[in-house]
Amino acid sequence: MESEDEMAAMMLIEDSNDEEELYGDDDDDSDLDDVIMDYDGFMDHESDDSDDYTSPHNHHHHHHHRSQNYTVLNEDDIRQLQEENITQISTVLSISRVAAGILLRHYNWSVSKVNDEWFADEEKVRKTVGLLENHVPFPDAIELTCGICFDTCPRNRISTAACGHPFCVMCWQGYISTAINDGPGCLNLRCPDPSCGAAVGQDMVNKLASVEDKSRYNRYILRSFVEDNRKTKWCPGPGCDFAVDLIVGGGSYDVTCRCSHSFCWNCVEEAHRPVDCGTVAKWILKNSAESENMNWILANSKPCPKCKRPIEKNQGCMHITCTPPCKFEFCWLCLGAWSEHGERTGGFYACNRYEAAKQEGVFDDTEKRREMAKNSLERYTHYYERWATNQSLEKLSDRQCQPESQLKFIIEAWLQIVECRRVLKWTYAYGYYLPEHENAKKQFFEYLQGEAESGLERLHQCAEKEFQGYLNSEGPSEGFNEFRTKLAGLTRWAPLKLPLLLNYSIP
């Protein structure tokens, strides 16, 4: 174990210089891309075969292209962007930074929208957001009456927003604190005077709120910048604090956060190529909601003709006695009362009514629906099982991926497995929704799917089982270089079928 790690570490050191020169300027790329780039560097160094070079490099381009239409932001990046926007508006409109912040928040942090609205009708905008053109001067008196507690206070205990309505510092604190504790609505705080509507901005909050309230307020402002902004979304990864800024219309919605979580920026579910967001939503609903349970009940049970509770018949004869308190006795086949069954109907155990109906070809509508539900359920189980298997393998890969000090080609192999598993997983959801009657299309799709599965299976086998052998062996193994060549080859080969599958499934 240890010697292997050392070897890995040595190789990393050897290559590090080249990478610095080659890729040192790519600062805003995510860690994932860095890993892949490092790998490219490694490959260059190890073999000068140009054919070997192109294939992983294509892959590199693929990632690089995708990283161009989005940026991962940490908290500092978000604040910096926010400050830049505020500076811009404050400069262009010649208003205070606080006023610029209020305007931007109101127009969902869209600089262009603020500009458009402001220059179209400044007066209207000022009125809507509560920005007064001139500060109303403080009433000229030694003492003033607070509009909330009605106490008379010395001037220095009184504070006002731009409108000049006087309230004492204590009441301001209570007012601001109540608003902040009520949630993000505090960002639209107005003067307490009901007839006023002048905005109470961050300057007032900073001056009057407690330390704790101030930090909550700042948190709300940060969240507003991400959540109200049409270009930005929080990464849904568990415990992740990064946000992803996307250039909408720039291609794929699949993004990979710096925390390594891959998700669809549009629907915030995990990345799900080749299926579209709508199908994913349907599929997830199907897996979680009652709908399949309802189908199961429909397929495997019949309602008691008297009390209507669903009954599953798992063994025994056709003579059903419903559970107390109902206790109704009926025939499972025809759902008629058992008391009517006898010689007349051809004997207790040969309900001829049902048989007769079947012979005449009279198809009961309910029966037909039940049959279809059963088929659909089996179909769903088939697809769900395969979807779920890919999901669990994906998880396993994630875990295996943890020790990143391992050799880079192995990391690359596992990244490829994760990527392929994810795509394959969703092709099963796609397959489930392929129309029943499009047989030829379905057959070809499943053929491609099978090919992709088998390629991936070989890669997975090699990366997991064969690799295990090298992990357990003591000291450098003889066949290790061959193993590297094999795994690298499989890594490149496994995803080759995917574009076909992807192109095929996107109409």
Partner: protein, 158 residues
């Protein structure tokens, strides 16, 4: 907090004593034993089906007053789209999310009188009443409302 609300209510109490003459339509009374319980008698606004009636309101003031609004309900039965016919509960924005600590019990009474004169049939607590107005049956609404004003809000004759 309790101290602040108590002080503020005491100020309102003194103000009410002074304003009694100023606004003859509102009579606010504080519970002798509990400054957080108030009742009010308001006159039905003129040129409405509530004219001539006197309606009793009950106020329950929270500890966080005036940062939080008081709870108000009608004790007198009233047929109005924004008042629950059984409980007397009132649907009024300033008693919920549009509350401001600059409002007083007195100004809440004034807002309720304004609501009596200008019902909001689109957010009804009393659907029958709201539907009459929404379907444009002003006469139907007015006669129902006037009937209940006579029955519940006017002193019995004889």
């Amino acid at each position: 907090m309790n101290q602040a609300s108590r002080a503020r209510l005491f100020k309102e109490y003194k103000e009410v004593q002074r304003e009694k003459v100023a606004d003859p339509d509102i009579q606010l009374v504080c519970d002798e034993a509990n400054i957080f319980k108030w009742t009010a008698l308001v006159k039905g606004p003129s040129e409405t089906p509530f004219e001539g009636g006197v309606f009793q309101l009950a106020f329950s003031v929270p500890d966080q007053y005036p940062l939080q609004p008081p709870q108000v309900k009608f004790l007198t039965k009233i047929f109005h789209p924004n008042v629950h016919f059984k409980t007397g509960e009132i649907c009024l924005d300033i008693l919920k999310n549009a509350w401001s600590p600059a409002w007083t019990l007195q100004s809440v009474c004034r807002a309720i009188i304004a609501l009596m004169a200008h019902p909001e049939p689109d957010s009804p607590l009393n659907c029958d009443s709201g539907n009459l107005l929404r379907s444009g049956d002003i006469r139907g609404y007015q006669s129902m409302a006037r009937m209940y004003t006579r029955l519940a809000a006017m002193p019995k004759k004889g």
